[in-house]
Point group: C2
Chain length 209, copies 2
DNA sequence: ACTCAGAGTCGCCAAAAAGGAGAGCTAAAA
DNA sequence: TTTTAGCTCTCCTTTTTGGCGACTCTGAGT
């Protein structure tokens, strides 16, 4: 899937780094964009900060926007202080979710997306925060998975993903090669993909296969 | 990539459910297997339990094995009690990581994998726990990514993943179509893949592209 | 009961794309 | 120097794709 995020704009809006997680599932997101400083990522990962991170804690619990500075009292491990040592001085987080039962998305349980953005020099302006929220919302919407793929189409894609030829897939599923072509063609159409490789990459990122 | 986990065996070992995350990145695992009860997943997700989950907290901080019953004193939100209402009565978690700087894996920062397993009727036996740890370790090892792919090979796969034709990729990168074929061929060899679609699926799951 | 639309299946054909073998060329490592 | 890995190219084969039409089945509406 093409990266639809304007990386230049994000680099301008959050010059010190950003982290975006789109459509969280049970525990993990459908897509992740991580441009936090490498030193911070190592520091953070090595210490397992994830479970104490006040930003993630907020993002899982709330919806809307917050400056990191508003989370200070909820940071017993001083993670925000340590982040400052990596140029992550001022920050803002946005979090959003589908409405539960939103028929348009076909997602029963609304899924959540959030982003965290940092700069070194000053607090974020309200207009910048609004734009960042829009960016996360756009990506959230872009990853709304199609729900009309049939099990036959998904199964054909699963086997193609594992490197099988059309004739092998056809034999394994007990149908003609033409039928497999038709299934993949239909899947490409539904996924708005240019070829089978593209369709399979998209379906994988959607968590469909 | 084929699912190499013996689902039947897991179903026998953890009849009430299991959740395995292999090779965590910053926030995101290379692979996730979730067979927890659907009701529990909804309950858990809707309430954002992830950030308070004593099992995840343990898994991010420790290495080895632990019974859920040993985590009770570290569960202020009573998540383990609530899990019991979904048949998740007895449980065990295992967590493991590469040694930092392990040359064999080529991973600078050792990555972490963990699993959580549940049954309704009794505590897990030590031999069962050992077997579960082996299963997670096997999967962890299976997902050791190859490190010898060149940037040229990765770039060709990225563009192919996004649906571009070989001639388009060649034009965009300013080389011949034959060169792109050669790069993909080399990538297929290194990834032990049967064709480009397979190679791209593998590279994606390894987090290489 | 009847028609209609849509989805799924299949075969055929021609064109496009991908894959495979082999060989030359270069730069860096042993 | 020899070796090795990476890149490039050409020629040829295999696979995939797109377009067409036809058949079946099912469910919705008339």
């Amino acid at each position: 899937m093409k990266n639809l995020i304007d990386l230049e704009e994000l680099k301008t809006l959050a010059p010190a780094g950003y982290h975006i997680a789109v459509r969280m599932g049970f525990v993990f997101p459908a897509e992740e964009h991580n441009a936090m400083p490498l030193g911070w990522v190592r520091h953070y990962t090595a210490r397992g900060f994830m479970m104490q991170d006040p930003i993630l804690r907020w993002a899982y619990a709330e919806t809307g926007q917050t400056r990191w500075s508003a989370l200070k009292e909820n940071d017993p491990f001083g993670i925000l202080d340590q982040a400052r040592g990596f140029g992550l001085t001022f920050g803002v987080a946005v979090s959003l979710r589908d409405l539960p039962g939103d028929a348009a998305t076909g997602v029963e349980q609304g899924s959540r997306s959030f982003g965290s953005f940092a700069r070194h020099d000053r607090e974020f302006a309200p207009s910048e925060i609004a734009r960042l929220q829009d960016i996360v919302q756009e990506r959230h919407d872009a990853l709304t998975p199609p729900t009309n793929l049939t099990e036959a189409e998904l199964e054909a894609m699963r086997l193609a993903r594992d490197g099988m030829l059309l004739k092998e897939i056809a034999h394994q599923l007990g149908v003609s090669e033409g039928a497999i072509k038709q299934r993949l063609k239909s899947a490409k159409l539904k996924l708005d993909a240019r070829n089978s490789t593209h369709a399979i990459a998209k379906a994988t990122q959607f968590g469909l296969i």
